[in-house]
Amino acid sequence: MNDPESVRRTVEAVWRIDSARMVGALARYTGDFALAEDVAQEALAEALVSWPRDGVPATPAGWLLAVARRRAIDSFRRNNTRDEKYAQLARDATAGVPAGAPDDLLDPDRVGDDRLALLFIACHPVLSKESQIALTLRVVAGLGSDQIARAFLVPVPTIQARITRAKKTLSAAGVRYGLPSAAERDERVSSVLNVIYLIFTEGANASIGDDLLAADLAIEAIRLANVMAHLDPDRPETYGLLALCELTAARFPARIGPDGEPVLLAEQDRRRWDRSAIRRGMAALAKAESFGQGLGPYGLQAAIAACHAAARSVEETDWDRIVILYEALGRIAPSPIVELNRAVAMSMAYGPQQALPIVDDLVARDVLRGSQLLPSVRGELLIRVGRRDEARQELELAARLTANSRERGVFERKIERLADDQ
């Protein structure tokens, strides 16, 4: 009856559904986010031992919360703290007076606020990016350290250490648990969106290697973006990010060939794109635009992805519009990669002659060193304008720089073709 594997999945499921509200409730109860996360984890560990033995309790979340609360009180006693609030809680517990019965802690009206507060605390600017990512996946998405470790291909203790360090940093910085005001959220929202974006790109890049667990990270990121859009709804860039994730994920089914090789956008079988993801992405983009404040960096990238999603082929793509969007993106978030992409769009819209000066400028500025991207694009443009010797040199450089053997093969075939045509 208590099949251990099934019970383990039940514990995982309860944690996934209720961890945010439990940690939130405990953080409100103790005023201490780090302690709340610790005791919630201890309760989870206890569930993994006792549920397979005694069966799953009638109210699993209530059970976990009661255990966690008891652990919190033990910790107050152990620390023998002079803090009046802790002392009061400890006295209540000793006298057998419930200081807020566990079920009262799970106030349904607070659930949304708690989840949002946790998202903002996990993405707090005092933390390093990798800590923000680990903490967000654990307390907001409800993933276990082992699941996070598998997705990022690092050992479990590494993830645990990151989370421990993050909690210490938050305590040392005196960060209190609570939902930041709208004005504070304005200041910190970019950090939250950045973490969600990084989780998405980790999933998007890693899933090339047929690692399903890593691919799930992209789905987690989309869930988090949806949570953010639902709980803090007046931010156009949240919808821009959601649109970017959906429209990028729409291409996942088409971007890996039968032998596991990456398939470039131009060669993808567009019939395999996920139409429902495109529809959701387009709706999110329309929402971002409806604010009438212009698009931010995520929104602009989503608008570019939307141009591709709407086109039946490379030839039918609205490259003029993509050029304009890259120009806008280059103004608000300038980077060599954006310039390089603008050059590619220019070559598609107006021909290689128009694109070359942009690429030559990047070469002159000596940026993107060590990457095959710049020489591969420049090589391709030089082929098209008939400067074959220079093209060959660029492609040879690109072949040396790429770490991907399949991509190297593509460059080498182009070089051979150049030689054959001569």
Binding site: R9, P60, V111, R223
Partner: protein, 139 residues
């Protein structure tokens, strides 16, 4: 991630129990639950069925017989469904336990939704279905 359908089932007895409950209250409790599903990012689709009389087509005889119904004390009514994107059947069960449902005869059946990828991909009809799903965003 897999898709699971949570199918709401009830009997006349269940309906009777809800007779005195103000509609506003039902909307609120169900709304809160749906909000939880949305906040957790698991809700893919949900529909409720009109509780007015339907018809049943019975194929036991040829040609099929059409009757009003289903009715009666023992008949189970299919009241609506949610489709969730979750990691396991256990997660679907845990969500179902949280649904604001109660009373005699009130049940939720949980079934995994078969994905089109599980059917033979070279079958002509599956190819046609896939094309329709792609065109209409139903994949």
């Amino acid at each position: 991630m897999a898709k699971y359908m949570l199918i709401m089932r009830s009997t006349d007895e269940t309906s009777k129990m809800y007779e005195g409950v103000p509609f506003e209250e039902i909307l609120e409790t169900m709304g809160r639950y749906n909000d939880d599903l949305i906040n957790a990012g698991v809700l893919l689709a949900a529909e409720g069925l009109d509780q007015g009389p339907g018809v049943v087509v019975d194929y036991e005889v040829e040609p099929p017989v059409v009757t009003d119904g289903p009715y009666g004390e023992t008949k189970e009514l299919f009241g609506g469904f949610w489709i969730l994107s979750v990691a396991s059947q256990e997660e679907a069960v845990e969500w179902a336990k949280r649904a604001p449902l109660a009373g005699p005869g009130s049940k939720v059946e949980i079934r995994r939704v078969a994905e089109i990828d599980e059917f033979p991909q070279d079958n002509e009809w599956i190819k046609r279905e896939r094309a329709w799903r792609e065109a209409h965003g139903q994949l």
